[in-house]
């Protein structure tokens, strides 16, 4: 091993173990607790905390700066970044929060983190041009047989409580009273153009997207939506998803 590699191993150990002992061979005699080592350690921690605060803004606003910084710094010691592109840092943070004892009093926090993570991913997802309503002006048979291609930024999920509403309320510029409804609901997150859009999804809408993302035709997806909620207004549901910009292409099938 080279001297440089030995130094780098020692320095990383010194950072992790909070002691200058591993790098003593590269320090002047008697320099056992150099303040500079803390400067590097603090800068690294701040870099991780700032990146996580940017990627998990709702979590940060819900728990406050001090709580967030303390939790994020602990997370960063267990899960340091593996890339310099910190806009993609923190995938493990939602699950980590679920196992973080001080977060026990905030049982909704991991879901808030997961939703933040999906929102941040949508922000940096590939570009794609949504179809406008005109693209769907097909014969009923052709429309039913067409298989939609979904926007690469699209995320949707189903929750067994009102966590999406809570998350959307917490993201409001001036959040008011926030209560967690026990009523199950879904969420849709997509970046059709410049801005990420997020809204609550009902059972039929979620069933439609679940089918479509599994490769179903529009006819099959509409059927799935109707089965999930027989009272759903399927035409409005479909029009709303077109307006959301979730469809970026149609593979026209063979109408039979």
């Amino acid at each position: 091993m080279t001297d440089l590699a030995r130094f780098q191993d020692a320095f990383v150990t010194a950072l992790a173990e909070r002691t200058a002992e591993p790098i003593a061979g590269w320090l002047p005699e008697g320099e056992t607790q150099p303040a500079g080592l803390s400067v590097y350690r603090n800068t690294i921690a701040k870099g991780c905390v700032d990146a996580l605060a940017a990627n998990f803004p709702t979590v940060a606003s819900l728990v406050g700066d001090d709580w967030f910084a303390a939790a994020a710094a602990l997370f960063a010691r267990e899960h340091p970044p593996s890339s310099a592109a910190l806009l993609a840092y923190g995938e493990a943070f939602p699950d980590w929060l679920a196992r973080f004892p001080p977060a026990d009093e905030l049982p909704y926090l991991p879901a808030m983190a997961w939703l933040d993570w999906r929102w941040t991913n949508a922000l940096f997802a590939p570009e794609a041009q949504p179809l406008d309503a005109g693209a769907f002006a097909l014969t009923p048979e052709a429309l039913a047989a067409a298989r939609p291609r979904l926007h690469p930024s699209l995320t949707f999920a189903w929750f067994d409580s009102g966590l999406p509403d809570l998350w959307l309320a917490a993201r409001a510029p001036e959040p008011g009273e926030m209560t967690l409804s026990p009523k199950p609901q879904g969420v849709l997150i997509v970046r059709p153009d410049d801005a990420v859009q997020a809204r609550v999804l009902d059972r039929a809408g979620h069933a439609f997207l679940a089918a479509a993302s599994d490769g179903a035709s529009l006819g099959e997806a509409i059927t799935a939506a109707g089965e999930a909620d027989p009272s759903a207004d399927l035409a409005s549901l479909f029009a709303a998803l077109i307006a959301d910009g979730v469809f970026v292409g149609l593979d026209l099938g063979d109408p039979t």
Binding site: A35, I44, L123, E127
Partner: protein, 284 residues
Amino acid sequence: MSPTAGLGLKPQHYDDAFAADAEGLWFEVHPENYMAAGGPRLRRLEAIRARRPLSLHGVGLSLAADADPDPAHLLALKTLADRFEPFVMSEHLAWSAWRGVHQPDLLPFPRTRAALDRIAANIGRTQDALGRTILVENPSLYLPLTGHELDETDFLTELTRRAGCGLLVDVNNVFVSAANLGYAAEAYLNGLPAGAIGEIHLAGHGADEGGSSLLIDTHAAPIAEPVWALYRRLIDRIGPRPTLIERDDDVPAFEVLMAERDRAHSLLMGTGACACPQPLPVAS
């Protein structure tokens, strides 16, 4: 006109940056913040780049690690360089990635001859991958490491000879490191080869909140007067160079940063036309 004094571009200033009409104004970003598949951040940078020269100033390549530069990181850099056609690209004389972990800081190392060989080779690989030369920036230093075989100025000068790279001189880093490690900032700056210097950085520093006597390169304050004085003497000696005002924390209004940028612009205009780095062929 060619770029004179520029600003580190902050997302909260995108609209101001797009609308700004100052003579010689240019912008610099960390490419790592734009290593994304898509999204508004890239689009905004594209719109600003259509009006202004841009510099890509890397913080994550880890040139001073005893390891080859990460091919995926180099590819991401090259992709951004092809898209945004920066007038200059730069990195640091420091390491951050080691054995699969990225430490988001610019870490020190003993400046040995073996380290010089490794870093010159890493710069060479980087320049080969990018198809252009880069500038290498002097770091801010906080530890009195022993085991150095070369002064930092000699180390940097030797890198320019071996790898054909240029230098990015961060005057605030020189001031901070000189104060922390006990050497003369002026003598350090005088030891750098004028012809290799392609860009200058100016930023603010602060006291160590940890209570030590160290100065910290915070990028969270206006540029200190002693740093302005060093800067004036540097450009008197070497001539004008594209100069960047960096502010990354406690970021004030765009106009506040523009006032510092205008001061650097005036100083540069007083020393003649700005000698901008030309995209040199990669040294063989």
